[in-house]
Protein backbone atom coordinates (compact mmCIF):
# COMPACT_ATOMS: atom_id res chain seq x y z
CA UNK A 1 0.00 0.00 0.00
CA UNK A 2 1.13 3.48 -0.72
CA UNK A 3 2.03 5.89 2.04
CA UNK A 4 -0.21 8.97 1.76
CA UNK A 5 2.39 11.28 3.24
CA UNK A 6 5.02 10.52 0.61
CA UNK A 7 2.46 11.01 -2.15
CA UNK A 8 1.43 14.30 -0.67
CA UNK A 9 4.94 15.55 -1.31
CA UNK A 10 4.85 14.35 -4.90
CA UNK A 11 1.65 16.20 -5.73
CA UNK A 12 2.20 19.41 -7.57
CA UNK A 13 0.16 22.50 -8.25
CA UNK A 14 -3.32 22.43 -9.79
CA UNK A 15 -3.38 20.99 -13.31
CA UNK A 16 -7.05 21.66 -13.72
CA UNK A 17 -9.36 23.96 -11.82
CA UNK A 18 -13.14 23.90 -12.14
CA UNK A 19 -14.72 27.12 -10.90
CA UNK A 20 -18.41 27.65 -10.25
CA UNK A 21 -19.51 25.43 -13.10
CA UNK A 22 -23.23 25.00 -13.70
CA UNK A 23 -24.85 22.96 -16.43
CA UNK A 24 -28.53 22.42 -17.18
CA UNK A 25 -30.33 20.29 -19.75
CA UNK A 26 -33.60 22.11 -20.19
CA UNK A 27 -35.10 21.90 -16.72
CA UNK A 28 -32.66 19.30 -15.42
CA UNK A 29 -29.83 20.87 -13.45
CA UNK A 30 -27.00 18.41 -13.94
CA UNK A 31 -24.38 20.58 -12.22
CA UNK A 32 -24.84 23.52 -9.88
CA UNK A 33 -21.97 25.82 -8.95
CA UNK A 34 -19.33 23.12 -8.71
CA UNK A 35 -15.72 24.04 -7.92
CA UNK A 36 -12.73 21.81 -7.31
CA UNK A 37 -9.25 21.28 -8.60
CA UNK A 38 -7.11 18.40 -9.73
CA UNK A 39 -3.44 18.56 -8.85
CA UNK A 40 -0.62 17.41 -11.01
CA UNK A 41 0.16 13.75 -10.39
CA UNK A 42 -2.80 12.84 -8.22
CA UNK A 43 -5.62 10.37 -8.57
CA UNK A 44 -8.74 12.35 -7.96
CA UNK A 45 -11.94 10.40 -7.42
CA UNK A 46 -15.36 11.81 -8.26
CA UNK A 47 -18.13 9.93 -6.54
CA UNK A 48 -21.83 10.35 -5.93
CA UNK A 49 -25.15 8.53 -6.29
CA UNK A 50 -26.62 7.75 -9.71
CA UNK A 51 -27.52 10.85 -11.64
CA UNK A 52 -25.38 13.05 -9.41
CA UNK A 53 -23.71 14.70 -12.39
CA UNK A 54 -20.36 12.89 -12.42
CA UNK A 55 -20.38 12.04 -16.11
CA UNK A 56 -21.65 15.51 -16.92
CA UNK A 57 -18.65 16.92 -15.05
CA UNK A 58 -16.24 14.97 -17.27
CA UNK A 59 -18.21 16.03 -20.34
CA UNK A 60 -17.72 19.65 -19.37
CA UNK A 61 -14.03 19.13 -18.72
CA UNK A 62 -13.32 17.64 -22.12
CA UNK A 63 -15.51 19.94 -24.09
CA UNK A 64 -18.56 17.86 -24.98
CA UNK A 65 -20.83 20.33 -23.19
CA UNK A 66 -20.12 24.00 -22.70
CA UNK A 67 -21.04 24.92 -19.13
CA UNK A 68 -23.84 27.47 -18.67
CA UNK A 69 -21.77 29.38 -16.16
CA UNK A 70 -18.35 29.10 -14.63
CA UNK A 71 -14.98 28.40 -16.15
CA UNK A 72 -12.27 25.82 -16.34
CA UNK A 73 -8.56 26.44 -16.06
CA UNK A 74 -6.36 23.77 -17.56
CA UNK A 75 -2.56 24.11 -17.46
CA UNK A 76 -2.99 27.72 -16.40
CA UNK A 77 -5.26 28.64 -19.29
CA UNK A 78 -8.81 29.66 -18.48
CA UNK A 79 -11.65 28.94 -20.87
CA UNK A 80 -15.39 28.61 -20.89
CA UNK A 81 -15.88 26.49 -23.98
CA UNK A 82 -13.65 24.12 -25.87
CA UNK A 83 -14.09 21.49 -28.58
CA UNK A 84 -13.21 17.88 -27.73
CA UNK A 85 -10.55 18.10 -30.42
CA UNK A 86 -8.89 20.97 -28.58
CA UNK A 87 -9.08 19.01 -25.34
CA UNK A 88 -7.28 16.11 -27.02
CA UNK A 89 -4.67 18.49 -28.36
CA UNK A 90 -4.21 19.92 -24.88
CA UNK A 91 -3.52 16.47 -23.46
CA UNK A 92 -6.84 15.28 -22.05
CA UNK A 93 -7.79 11.66 -22.73
CA UNK A 94 -10.91 9.88 -21.65
CA UNK A 95 -12.71 6.57 -21.32
CA UNK A 96 -16.47 6.23 -21.24
CA UNK A 97 -18.99 4.75 -18.87
CA UNK A 98 -20.64 2.86 -21.72
CA UNK A 99 -17.56 2.22 -23.86
CA UNK A 100 -16.89 4.23 -26.98
CA UNK A 101 -14.55 1.95 -28.87
CA UNK A 102 -14.16 1.70 -32.61
CA UNK A 103 -16.00 -1.60 -32.68
CA UNK A 104 -15.20 -2.63 -36.22
CA UNK A 105 -11.47 -2.18 -35.74
CA UNK A 106 -8.93 -4.49 -34.12
CA UNK A 107 -7.44 -3.91 -30.70
CA UNK A 108 -4.23 -2.84 -32.37
CA UNK A 109 -5.97 -0.35 -34.67
CA UNK A 110 -8.01 1.07 -31.81
CA UNK A 111 -4.90 1.79 -29.81
CA UNK A 112 -3.03 3.01 -32.89
CA UNK A 113 -5.92 5.42 -33.45
CA UNK A 114 -5.02 6.92 -30.09
CA UNK A 115 -1.79 8.08 -31.74
CA UNK A 116 -3.71 10.17 -34.29
CA UNK A 117 -2.38 13.45 -32.97
CA UNK A 118 1.20 12.25 -32.94
CA UNK A 119 1.35 10.99 -36.52
CA UNK A 120 1.98 13.59 -39.15
CA UNK A 121 3.15 11.98 -42.40
CA UNK A 122 1.10 13.57 -45.10
CA UNK A 123 -1.38 12.24 -47.57
CA UNK A 124 1.09 11.61 -50.38
CA UNK A 125 3.34 9.46 -48.26
CA UNK A 126 0.28 7.54 -47.10
CA UNK A 127 -0.56 6.78 -50.73
CA UNK A 128 2.57 4.69 -51.16
CA UNK A 129 3.01 3.62 -47.52
CA UNK A 130 6.75 3.40 -47.87
CA UNK A 131 9.65 5.46 -46.62
CA UNK A 132 8.70 8.03 -43.99
CA UNK A 133 5.08 6.86 -43.72
CA UNK A 134 6.09 3.28 -42.97
CA UNK A 135 8.85 4.38 -40.60
CA UNK A 136 6.40 6.50 -38.67
CA UNK A 137 3.94 3.62 -38.56
CA UNK A 138 6.60 1.26 -37.19
CA UNK A 139 7.79 3.78 -34.63
CA UNK A 140 4.29 4.25 -33.23
CA UNK A 141 3.56 0.56 -33.45
CA UNK A 142 6.49 -0.01 -31.11
CA UNK A 143 5.02 2.40 -28.58
CA UNK A 144 1.58 0.82 -28.92
CA UNK A 145 3.03 -2.65 -28.38
CA UNK A 146 4.45 -1.42 -25.07
CA UNK A 147 0.96 -0.41 -24.03
CA UNK A 148 -0.40 -3.74 -25.19
CA UNK A 149 2.17 -5.57 -23.11
CA UNK A 150 1.50 -3.34 -20.14
CA UNK A 151 -2.24 -4.06 -20.28
CA UNK A 152 -1.64 -7.75 -20.97
CA UNK A 153 -3.76 -7.84 -24.09
CA UNK A 154 -1.17 -9.17 -26.54
CA UNK A 155 -3.33 -12.20 -27.30
CA UNK A 156 -6.20 -10.10 -28.63
CA UNK A 157 -4.07 -7.71 -30.64
CA UNK A 158 -5.67 -8.60 -33.95
CA UNK A 159 -9.20 -9.29 -32.73
CA UNK A 160 -12.02 -6.98 -33.71
CA UNK A 161 -12.96 -5.27 -30.44
CA UNK A 162 -16.69 -5.68 -30.99
CA UNK A 163 -16.18 -9.41 -30.45
CA UNK A 164 -14.34 -9.05 -27.15
CA UNK A 165 -15.90 -9.56 -23.74
CA UNK A 166 -16.81 -6.42 -21.83
CA UNK A 167 -13.88 -6.48 -19.41
CA UNK A 168 -11.34 -6.66 -22.21
CA UNK A 169 -13.09 -3.90 -24.12
CA UNK A 170 -12.68 -1.67 -21.08
CA UNK A 171 -8.99 -2.50 -21.11
CA UNK A 172 -8.64 -1.69 -24.80
CA UNK A 173 -10.36 1.61 -24.23
CA UNK A 174 -7.86 2.41 -21.50
CA UNK A 175 -5.12 1.44 -23.93
CA UNK A 176 -6.42 3.84 -26.52
CA UNK A 177 -6.47 6.65 -23.96
CA UNK A 178 -2.94 5.79 -22.82
CA UNK A 179 -1.71 5.84 -26.41
CA UNK A 180 -2.47 9.54 -26.40
CA UNK A 181 0.11 9.94 -23.61
CA UNK A 182 -2.23 12.35 -21.88
CA UNK A 183 -1.43 14.77 -19.09
CA UNK A 184 -4.89 14.28 -17.67
CA UNK A 185 -6.74 10.99 -17.94
CA UNK A 186 -10.48 10.95 -17.26
CA UNK A 187 -11.85 7.52 -16.40
CA UNK A 188 -15.63 7.12 -16.19
CA UNK A 189 -16.39 4.00 -14.15
CA UNK A 190 -13.55 1.91 -15.59
CA UNK A 191 -14.53 -1.06 -13.43
CA UNK A 192 -18.29 -1.05 -13.83
CA UNK A 193 -19.64 -4.53 -14.49
CA UNK A 194 -16.34 -6.26 -13.75
CA UNK A 195 -15.74 -9.20 -11.47
CA UNK A 196 -13.36 -8.96 -8.55
CA UNK A 197 -10.34 -10.25 -10.43
CA UNK A 198 -10.88 -7.87 -13.33
CA UNK A 199 -11.32 -5.01 -10.89
CA UNK A 200 -8.04 -5.84 -9.24
CA UNK A 201 -6.27 -5.92 -12.58
CA UNK A 202 -7.77 -2.61 -13.59
CA UNK A 203 -6.87 -1.02 -10.25
CA UNK A 204 -3.31 -2.15 -10.72
CA UNK A 205 -3.18 -0.67 -14.22
CA UNK A 206 -4.52 2.65 -12.99
CA UNK A 207 -2.02 2.85 -10.17
CA UNK A 208 0.82 1.84 -12.47
CA UNK A 209 -0.11 4.46 -15.04
CA UNK A 210 -0.20 7.07 -12.35
CA UNK A 211 3.10 6.03 -10.84
CA UNK A 212 5.13 5.05 -13.90
CA UNK A 213 4.09 7.85 -16.22
CA UNK A 214 3.06 10.40 -13.63
CA UNK A 215 -0.30 10.77 -15.37
CA UNK A 216 -2.88 12.77 -13.48
CA UNK A 217 -6.13 10.83 -13.24
CA UNK A 218 -9.73 11.78 -12.57
CA UNK A 219 -11.65 8.65 -11.68
CA UNK A 220 -15.38 8.14 -11.37
CA UNK A 221 -16.11 4.99 -9.43
CA UNK A 222 -18.98 3.56 -7.39
CA UNK A 223 -16.99 0.90 -5.57
CA UNK A 224 -15.84 2.65 -2.39
CA UNK A 225 -13.21 -0.01 -1.76
CA UNK A 226 -11.55 0.88 -5.03
CA UNK A 227 -11.86 4.60 -4.35
CA UNK A 228 -10.24 4.14 -0.93
CA UNK A 229 -7.36 2.18 -2.40
CA UNK A 230 -6.63 4.37 -5.36
CA UNK A 231 -7.48 7.95 -4.80
CA UNK A 232 -5.63 10.78 -3.11
CA UNK A 233 -8.61 13.05 -2.79
CA UNK A 234 -12.32 12.66 -3.41
CA UNK A 235 -15.01 15.02 -4.67
CA UNK A 236 -18.54 14.00 -3.78
CA UNK A 237 -21.43 15.19 -5.90
CA UNK A 238 -25.11 14.87 -5.09
CA UNK A 239 -27.91 16.26 -7.23
CA UNK A 240 -25.33 18.25 -9.16
CA UNK A 241 -23.85 19.95 -6.11
CA UNK A 242 -20.52 19.35 -4.46
CA UNK A 243 -21.21 18.11 -0.93
CA UNK A 244 -17.72 17.07 0.11
CA UNK A 245 -14.13 17.37 -1.02
CA UNK A 246 -11.54 15.63 1.13
CA UNK A 247 -9.33 12.57 1.55
CA UNK A 248 -11.01 9.17 1.17
CA UNK A 249 -10.97 8.51 4.89
CA UNK A 250 -12.57 11.83 5.74
CA UNK A 251 -15.19 11.43 3.06
CA UNK A 252 -16.17 8.02 4.35
CA UNK A 253 -17.13 9.51 7.72
CA UNK A 254 -18.70 12.70 6.37
CA UNK A 255 -22.31 12.90 7.50
CA UNK A 256 -23.47 14.72 4.36
CA UNK A 257 -22.00 11.97 2.26
CA UNK A 258 -23.57 9.23 4.32
CA UNK A 259 -26.93 10.98 4.11
CA UNK A 260 -26.62 11.32 0.34
CA UNK A 261 -25.93 7.64 -0.04
CA UNK A 262 -28.61 6.47 2.42
CA UNK A 263 -31.71 5.45 0.59
CA UNK A 264 -29.70 5.02 -2.55
CA UNK A 265 -30.17 1.51 -3.87
CA UNK A 266 -26.46 0.67 -3.91
CA UNK A 267 -25.34 2.62 -0.83
CA UNK A 268 -21.68 2.77 0.05
CA UNK A 269 -20.18 -0.61 -0.59
CA UNK A 270 -17.00 -0.72 1.38
Amino acid sequence: MRAPSSREVRLGEALLAVENVSLAFGGVRALTDVSFDIRKGEIRAIIGPNGAGKTSMLNVINGFYPPNTGRITFKGEARTTMRPYAAALGGIARTFQNLALFRGMTTLDNIMAGRALKMHRGFFWQLIRHGPALREEVEHRRRVEEIIDFLEIAAIRKVQVGRLPYGLQKRVELGRALAMEPDLLLLDEPMAGMNLEEKEDMSRFILDVNQQYGTTIALIEHDMGVVMDLSDRVVVLDYGRKIADATPDEVKCDKNVIRAYLGEPHGISA
Partner: protein, 358 residues
Protein backbone atom coordinates in the same frame (compact mmCIF):
# COMPACT_ATOMS: atom_id res chain seq x y z
CA UNK B 1 -1.52 -27.93 -44.44
CA UNK B 2 -0.87 -25.88 -47.51
CA UNK B 3 -2.24 -22.60 -46.27
CA UNK B 4 -0.41 -21.85 -43.06
CA UNK B 5 1.46 -19.07 -41.41
CA UNK B 6 3.23 -21.53 -39.10
CA UNK B 7 6.96 -21.18 -39.39
CA UNK B 8 6.62 -17.78 -41.01
CA UNK B 9 7.83 -15.73 -38.09
CA UNK B 10 7.53 -12.03 -38.42
CA UNK B 11 10.78 -10.49 -37.44
CA UNK B 12 9.79 -6.86 -37.51
CA UNK B 13 6.71 -4.73 -37.08
CA UNK B 14 7.10 -3.65 -40.69
CA UNK B 15 6.78 -7.28 -41.78
CA UNK B 16 3.81 -7.80 -39.48
CA UNK B 17 2.14 -4.72 -40.89
CA UNK B 18 2.56 -5.86 -44.48
CA UNK B 19 -0.73 -6.02 -46.27
CA UNK B 20 -0.27 -9.68 -47.17
CA UNK B 21 1.74 -11.07 -44.28
CA UNK B 22 1.21 -14.71 -45.29
CA UNK B 23 3.40 -16.18 -48.02
CA UNK B 24 0.58 -18.15 -49.65
CA UNK B 25 -1.44 -14.96 -50.01
CA UNK B 26 1.46 -13.30 -51.77
CA UNK B 27 1.84 -16.27 -54.11
CA UNK B 28 -1.89 -16.14 -54.80
CA UNK B 29 -1.69 -12.46 -55.59
CA UNK B 30 1.25 -13.00 -57.93
CA UNK B 31 -0.68 -15.76 -59.70
CA UNK B 32 -3.72 -13.53 -60.16
CA UNK B 33 -1.58 -10.74 -61.57
CA UNK B 34 0.12 -13.19 -63.91
CA UNK B 35 -3.23 -14.42 -65.18
CA UNK B 36 -4.55 -10.89 -65.57
CA UNK B 37 -1.53 -9.44 -67.33
CA UNK B 38 -0.29 -12.43 -69.35
CA UNK B 39 -2.73 -15.32 -69.64
CA UNK B 40 -5.89 -13.37 -70.36
CA UNK B 41 -4.26 -11.19 -73.05
CA UNK B 42 -2.91 -14.37 -74.69
CA UNK B 43 -6.12 -16.38 -74.72
CA UNK B 44 -8.67 -13.61 -74.45
CA UNK B 45 -10.97 -12.88 -77.34
CA UNK B 46 -13.12 -9.81 -77.74
CA UNK B 47 -16.02 -11.19 -75.74
CA UNK B 48 -13.92 -12.00 -72.69
CA UNK B 49 -12.03 -8.73 -72.80
CA UNK B 50 -14.73 -6.30 -73.83
CA UNK B 51 -17.84 -7.80 -72.28
CA UNK B 52 -16.43 -9.37 -69.17
CA UNK B 53 -13.06 -8.12 -68.03
CA UNK B 54 -13.07 -4.41 -68.91
CA UNK B 55 -16.45 -3.65 -67.33
CA UNK B 56 -15.71 -5.91 -64.37
CA UNK B 57 -12.53 -3.96 -63.63
CA UNK B 58 -14.22 -0.60 -64.10
CA UNK B 59 -17.07 -1.51 -61.78
CA UNK B 60 -14.56 -2.81 -59.27
CA UNK B 61 -12.85 0.57 -59.24
CA UNK B 62 -16.16 2.36 -58.75
CA UNK B 63 -17.04 -0.09 -55.97
CA UNK B 64 -13.70 0.53 -54.28
CA UNK B 65 -14.44 4.24 -54.50
CA UNK B 66 -17.84 3.93 -52.89
CA UNK B 67 -16.48 1.46 -50.37
CA UNK B 68 -13.91 3.99 -49.16
CA UNK B 69 -16.75 6.37 -48.40
CA UNK B 70 -19.52 4.06 -47.28
CA UNK B 71 -17.69 0.98 -46.05
CA UNK B 72 -14.68 2.61 -44.46
CA UNK B 73 -15.97 6.01 -43.38
CA UNK B 74 -19.60 5.07 -42.84
CA UNK B 75 -21.04 7.79 -45.07
CA UNK B 76 -23.79 6.46 -47.29
CA UNK B 77 -23.79 7.97 -50.76
CA UNK B 78 -26.29 7.62 -53.58
CA UNK B 79 -24.36 9.98 -55.80
CA UNK B 80 -21.91 7.46 -57.27
CA UNK B 81 -23.43 7.67 -60.75
CA UNK B 82 -23.16 11.44 -60.70
CA UNK B 83 -19.55 11.42 -59.52
CA UNK B 84 -18.67 8.89 -62.23
CA UNK B 85 -20.34 11.19 -64.73
CA UNK B 86 -18.26 14.16 -63.61
CA UNK B 87 -15.17 12.08 -64.40
CA UNK B 88 -16.43 11.16 -67.85
CA UNK B 89 -17.45 14.68 -68.85
CA UNK B 90 -14.29 16.18 -67.36
CA UNK B 91 -12.22 13.75 -69.41
CA UNK B 92 -14.08 14.71 -72.57
CA UNK B 93 -13.55 18.41 -71.97
CA UNK B 94 -9.89 17.96 -71.08
CA UNK B 95 -9.05 15.93 -74.16
CA UNK B 96 -11.04 18.32 -76.32
CA UNK B 97 -9.21 21.35 -75.03
CA UNK B 98 -5.79 19.69 -74.88
CA UNK B 99 -5.94 16.95 -77.53
CA UNK B 100 -2.20 16.32 -77.57
CA UNK B 101 -1.85 15.36 -73.95
CA UNK B 102 -1.80 11.64 -73.31
CA UNK B 103 -5.38 10.42 -72.76
CA UNK B 104 -4.37 8.20 -69.85
CA UNK B 105 -3.26 11.34 -68.02
CA UNK B 106 -6.63 12.91 -68.66
CA UNK B 107 -8.50 9.82 -67.49
CA UNK B 108 -6.64 10.10 -64.19
CA UNK B 109 -6.86 13.89 -64.02
CA UNK B 110 -10.61 13.79 -64.53
CA UNK B 111 -10.77 12.11 -61.13
CA UNK B 112 -9.59 15.39 -59.63
CA UNK B 113 -12.69 17.10 -60.93
CA UNK B 114 -15.03 14.59 -59.38
CA UNK B 115 -12.98 14.80 -56.20
CA UNK B 116 -13.66 18.54 -56.08
CA UNK B 117 -17.35 18.02 -56.74
CA UNK B 118 -17.41 15.25 -54.13
CA UNK B 119 -15.90 17.53 -51.51
CA UNK B 120 -18.47 20.18 -52.30
CA UNK B 121 -21.38 17.80 -51.83
CA UNK B 122 -19.65 16.24 -48.86
CA UNK B 123 -19.75 19.48 -46.88
CA UNK B 124 -23.16 18.76 -45.34
CA UNK B 125 -21.77 15.52 -43.90
CA UNK B 126 -20.45 17.33 -40.86
CA UNK B 127 -23.96 18.15 -39.76
CA UNK B 128 -26.03 15.32 -41.15
CA UNK B 129 -25.58 11.57 -41.02
CA UNK B 130 -27.07 8.32 -42.19
CA UNK B 131 -30.35 8.52 -44.00
CA UNK B 132 -30.33 12.31 -44.26
CA UNK B 133 -26.86 12.35 -45.74
CA UNK B 134 -28.00 9.77 -48.28
CA UNK B 135 -30.79 12.13 -49.28
CA UNK B 136 -28.31 14.98 -49.63
CA UNK B 137 -26.13 12.87 -51.95
CA UNK B 138 -29.27 11.96 -53.86
CA UNK B 139 -29.78 15.66 -54.46
CA UNK B 140 -26.21 15.80 -55.76
CA UNK B 141 -26.99 12.90 -58.07
CA UNK B 142 -30.04 14.61 -59.56
CA UNK B 143 -28.32 17.96 -59.85
CA UNK B 144 -25.36 16.42 -61.69
CA UNK B 145 -27.64 14.45 -64.00
CA UNK B 146 -29.45 17.68 -64.80
CA UNK B 147 -26.12 19.32 -65.65
CA UNK B 148 -25.13 16.44 -67.95
CA UNK B 149 -28.34 16.85 -69.91
CA UNK B 150 -28.86 20.62 -69.81
CA UNK B 151 -25.36 21.97 -70.36
CA UNK B 152 -24.50 21.28 -74.03
CA UNK B 153 -20.97 22.59 -73.54
CA UNK B 154 -20.29 19.46 -71.47
CA UNK B 155 -20.95 17.12 -74.39
CA UNK B 156 -19.34 19.43 -76.94
CA UNK B 157 -22.75 20.39 -78.42
CA UNK B 158 -23.02 17.02 -80.15
CA UNK B 159 -26.34 16.60 -81.93
CA UNK B 160 -27.23 13.40 -80.10
CA UNK B 161 -26.47 14.96 -76.72
CA UNK B 162 -24.11 12.07 -76.09
CA UNK B 163 -20.40 11.92 -75.42
CA UNK B 164 -18.58 10.90 -78.59
CA UNK B 165 -15.17 9.54 -77.75
CA UNK B 166 -12.49 10.82 -80.13
CA UNK B 167 -9.57 8.79 -81.40
CA UNK B 168 -6.51 9.15 -79.18
CA UNK B 169 -3.26 7.30 -79.55
CA UNK B 170 -0.44 6.36 -77.25
CA UNK B 171 2.90 5.92 -79.01
CA UNK B 172 1.04 5.50 -82.27
CA UNK B 173 -1.32 2.84 -80.94
CA UNK B 174 -5.02 3.81 -80.83
CA UNK B 175 -6.20 3.82 -77.21
CA UNK B 176 -9.64 5.34 -77.42
CA UNK B 177 -12.10 5.68 -80.26
CA UNK B 178 -13.48 3.06 -82.64
CA UNK B 179 -10.11 1.72 -83.84
CA UNK B 180 -8.71 0.96 -80.41
CA UNK B 181 -8.51 -2.80 -79.87
CA UNK B 182 -10.07 -4.36 -76.82
CA UNK B 183 -6.67 -5.75 -75.82
CA UNK B 184 -5.11 -2.28 -75.63
CA UNK B 185 -8.02 -0.93 -73.68
CA UNK B 186 -8.01 -3.94 -71.37
CA UNK B 187 -4.36 -3.53 -70.53
CA UNK B 188 -4.78 0.15 -69.77
CA UNK B 189 -7.84 -0.41 -67.62
CA UNK B 190 -6.12 -3.27 -65.82
CA UNK B 191 -3.00 -1.21 -65.11
CA UNK B 192 -4.99 1.69 -63.74
CA UNK B 193 -7.16 -0.54 -61.57
CA UNK B 194 -4.18 -2.47 -60.21
CA UNK B 195 -2.26 0.67 -59.29
CA UNK B 196 -5.30 2.37 -57.77
CA UNK B 197 -6.21 -0.73 -55.78
CA UNK B 198 -2.69 -0.81 -54.40
CA UNK B 199 -2.95 2.84 -53.44
CA UNK B 200 -6.35 2.34 -51.83
CA UNK B 201 -4.97 -0.55 -49.86
CA UNK B 202 -2.07 1.60 -48.67
CA UNK B 203 -4.48 4.28 -47.55
CA UNK B 204 -6.85 2.02 -45.64
CA UNK B 205 -4.06 0.13 -43.90
CA UNK B 206 -2.38 3.25 -42.60
CA UNK B 207 -3.11 6.31 -40.54
CA UNK B 208 -5.78 7.61 -42.88
CA UNK B 209 -7.68 4.33 -42.98
CA UNK B 210 -7.78 4.23 -39.20
CA UNK B 211 -9.03 7.80 -39.15
CA UNK B 212 -11.86 6.90 -41.51
CA UNK B 213 -12.86 3.77 -39.63
CA UNK B 214 -12.76 5.64 -36.33
CA UNK B 215 -15.16 8.21 -37.74
CA UNK B 216 -17.38 5.40 -38.98
CA UNK B 217 -17.44 3.44 -35.73
CA UNK B 218 -17.77 6.22 -33.14
CA UNK B 219 -17.37 9.79 -34.25
CA UNK B 220 -17.47 11.27 -30.73
CA UNK B 221 -14.57 9.13 -29.62
CA UNK B 222 -12.76 9.89 -32.86
CA UNK B 223 -12.88 13.58 -32.11
CA UNK B 224 -11.67 12.82 -28.63
CA UNK B 225 -8.49 11.12 -29.80
CA UNK B 226 -7.79 14.17 -31.92
CA UNK B 227 -9.34 13.36 -35.27
CA UNK B 228 -10.84 16.33 -37.05
CA UNK B 229 -14.16 15.02 -38.27
CA UNK B 230 -14.82 17.41 -41.13
CA UNK B 231 -11.36 16.94 -42.52
CA UNK B 232 -11.58 13.17 -42.33
CA UNK B 233 -15.00 13.09 -43.95
CA UNK B 234 -14.10 15.49 -46.72
CA UNK B 235 -10.94 13.54 -47.46
CA UNK B 236 -13.06 10.41 -47.74
CA UNK B 237 -15.43 12.20 -50.11
CA UNK B 238 -12.50 13.45 -52.17
CA UNK B 239 -10.70 10.13 -52.50
CA UNK B 240 -13.92 8.21 -53.03
CA UNK B 241 -15.11 10.57 -55.76
CA UNK B 242 -11.69 10.50 -57.35
CA UNK B 243 -11.99 6.74 -57.75
CA UNK B 244 -15.54 6.98 -59.03
CA UNK B 245 -14.54 9.74 -61.44
CA UNK B 246 -11.72 7.69 -62.93
CA UNK B 247 -14.08 4.73 -63.20
CA UNK B 248 -16.60 6.92 -65.01
CA UNK B 249 -14.00 8.27 -67.42
CA UNK B 250 -12.77 4.76 -68.18
CA UNK B 251 -16.31 3.54 -68.61
CA UNK B 252 -16.93 5.96 -71.45
CA UNK B 253 -13.47 6.22 -72.97
CA UNK B 254 -12.18 2.69 -72.62
CA UNK B 255 -15.34 0.60 -72.64
CA UNK B 256 -18.46 2.14 -74.23
CA UNK B 257 -16.65 4.46 -76.61
CA UNK B 258 -19.54 6.88 -76.27
CA UNK B 259 -22.33 7.45 -73.79
CA UNK B 260 -25.43 9.40 -72.98
CA UNK B 261 -26.22 11.07 -69.68
CA UNK B 262 -28.45 8.13 -68.69
CA UNK B 263 -25.37 6.01 -68.10
CA UNK B 264 -24.75 8.10 -65.01
CA UNK B 265 -28.27 7.95 -63.67
CA UNK B 266 -29.32 6.82 -60.23
CA UNK B 267 -29.44 3.16 -61.40
CA UNK B 268 -25.68 3.22 -61.66
CA UNK B 269 -25.43 4.52 -58.09
CA UNK B 270 -27.54 1.64 -56.86
CA UNK B 271 -25.69 -0.94 -58.94
CA UNK B 272 -22.37 0.08 -57.41
CA UNK B 273 -23.92 0.23 -53.96
CA UNK B 274 -25.17 -3.35 -54.35
CA UNK B 275 -21.68 -4.43 -55.34
CA UNK B 276 -20.26 -2.85 -52.23
CA UNK B 277 -22.87 -4.40 -49.97
CA UNK B 278 -22.64 -7.88 -51.45
CA UNK B 279 -18.88 -7.80 -51.59
CA UNK B 280 -18.58 -6.54 -48.07
CA UNK B 281 -18.54 -3.07 -46.55
CA UNK B 282 -15.08 -2.01 -45.56
CA UNK B 283 -13.04 -4.52 -47.55
CA UNK B 284 -11.23 -3.95 -50.81
CA UNK B 285 -11.22 -7.63 -51.79
CA UNK B 286 -14.95 -7.51 -51.31
CA UNK B 287 -15.26 -4.85 -53.99
CA UNK B 288 -13.79 -7.32 -56.51
CA UNK B 289 -16.14 -10.06 -55.35
CA UNK B 290 -19.13 -7.76 -55.41
CA UNK B 291 -18.40 -6.45 -58.89
CA UNK B 292 -17.87 -10.00 -60.12
CA UNK B 293 -21.13 -11.26 -58.66
CA UNK B 294 -23.33 -8.39 -59.75
CA UNK B 295 -21.77 -7.88 -63.15
CA UNK B 296 -20.43 -11.25 -64.27
CA UNK B 297 -23.12 -13.52 -62.80
CA UNK B 298 -25.87 -12.13 -65.07
CA UNK B 299 -23.60 -12.67 -68.10
CA UNK B 300 -23.07 -16.28 -67.09
CA UNK B 301 -26.78 -16.75 -66.47
CA UNK B 302 -27.54 -15.32 -69.89
CA UNK B 303 -25.14 -17.73 -71.57
CA UNK B 304 -26.38 -20.85 -69.82
CA UNK B 305 -29.58 -21.48 -71.82
CA UNK B 306 -27.76 -20.95 -75.10
CA UNK B 307 -24.94 -23.22 -74.05
CA UNK B 308 -27.38 -25.96 -73.04
CA UNK B 309 -29.48 -25.38 -76.14
CA UNK B 310 -32.56 -24.53 -74.11
CA UNK B 311 -35.25 -22.67 -76.00
CA UNK B 312 -35.67 -19.85 -73.50
CA UNK B 313 -36.48 -16.35 -74.69
CA UNK B 314 -33.74 -13.80 -73.90
CA UNK B 315 -36.18 -11.49 -72.14
CA UNK B 316 -37.22 -14.30 -69.81
CA UNK B 317 -33.58 -14.88 -68.96
CA UNK B 318 -33.16 -11.18 -68.36
CA UNK B 319 -36.03 -11.12 -65.89
CA UNK B 320 -34.86 -14.30 -64.21
CA UNK B 321 -31.46 -12.69 -63.77
CA UNK B 322 -33.05 -9.72 -62.03
CA UNK B 323 -34.89 -12.05 -59.70
CA UNK B 324 -31.83 -14.13 -58.89
CA UNK B 325 -29.60 -11.13 -58.23
CA UNK B 326 -32.36 -9.48 -56.18
CA UNK B 327 -32.79 -12.59 -54.05
CA UNK B 328 -29.04 -12.83 -53.56
CA UNK B 329 -28.91 -9.26 -52.30
CA UNK B 330 -31.66 -9.91 -49.78
CA UNK B 331 -30.10 -13.18 -48.68
CA UNK B 332 -26.79 -11.46 -48.17
CA UNK B 333 -28.23 -8.57 -46.24
CA UNK B 334 -30.02 -11.03 -43.98
CA UNK B 335 -27.43 -13.76 -43.53
CA UNK B 336 -24.01 -12.29 -44.07
CA UNK B 337 -24.06 -8.54 -43.71
CA UNK B 338 -20.29 -8.54 -43.98
CA UNK B 339 -20.52 -9.79 -47.54
CA UNK B 340 -18.59 -12.21 -49.70
CA UNK B 341 -15.29 -10.98 -48.31
CA UNK B 342 -16.33 -12.30 -44.91
CA UNK B 343 -17.12 -15.73 -46.38
CA UNK B 344 -13.73 -15.66 -48.02
CA UNK B 345 -12.10 -14.87 -44.65
CA UNK B 346 -14.00 -17.68 -42.95
CA UNK B 347 -12.97 -20.06 -45.71
CA UNK B 348 -9.33 -19.11 -45.32
CA UNK B 349 -9.55 -19.45 -41.56
CA UNK B 350 -10.96 -22.99 -41.97
CA UNK B 351 -8.16 -23.81 -44.36
CA UNK B 352 -5.58 -22.51 -41.93
CA UNK B 353 -6.61 -24.88 -39.15
CA UNK B 354 -7.55 -27.77 -41.44
CA UNK B 355 -7.98 -30.69 -40.76
CA UNK B 356 -9.04 -29.62 -37.27
CA UNK B 357 -12.40 -27.93 -36.80
CA UNK B 358 -10.87 -25.11 -34.72
Amino acid sequence: MLYREVGQYKTSYAADMAIFPILQDRIGLAAILLIAFVVIPLVGHDFLLNTVMIPFLIFTLAAIGLNLLTGYTGLLSLGTGGFMGVGAYACLKLTTIFPHVNIVIWVLASGLFSAAVGVLFGLPSLRIKGFYLAVATLAAQFFLEWCFIRIPWLYNYSVSGAIEVPLRTLMGIPVTGPTATSLTRYLIVLSIVVVMTWVASNLVHGRIGRTWMAVRDMDLAAELVGIRLLRAKLLAFAVSSFYCGVAGAMMVFLWYGGAEAEVFAIDQSFLVLFMVIIGGLGTLTGSFFGAALIYILPIVLREIPAALGLPVHPSTVEQLTFVIVGVLIIVFLALEPNGLARLWQIGKQKLRVWPFPY
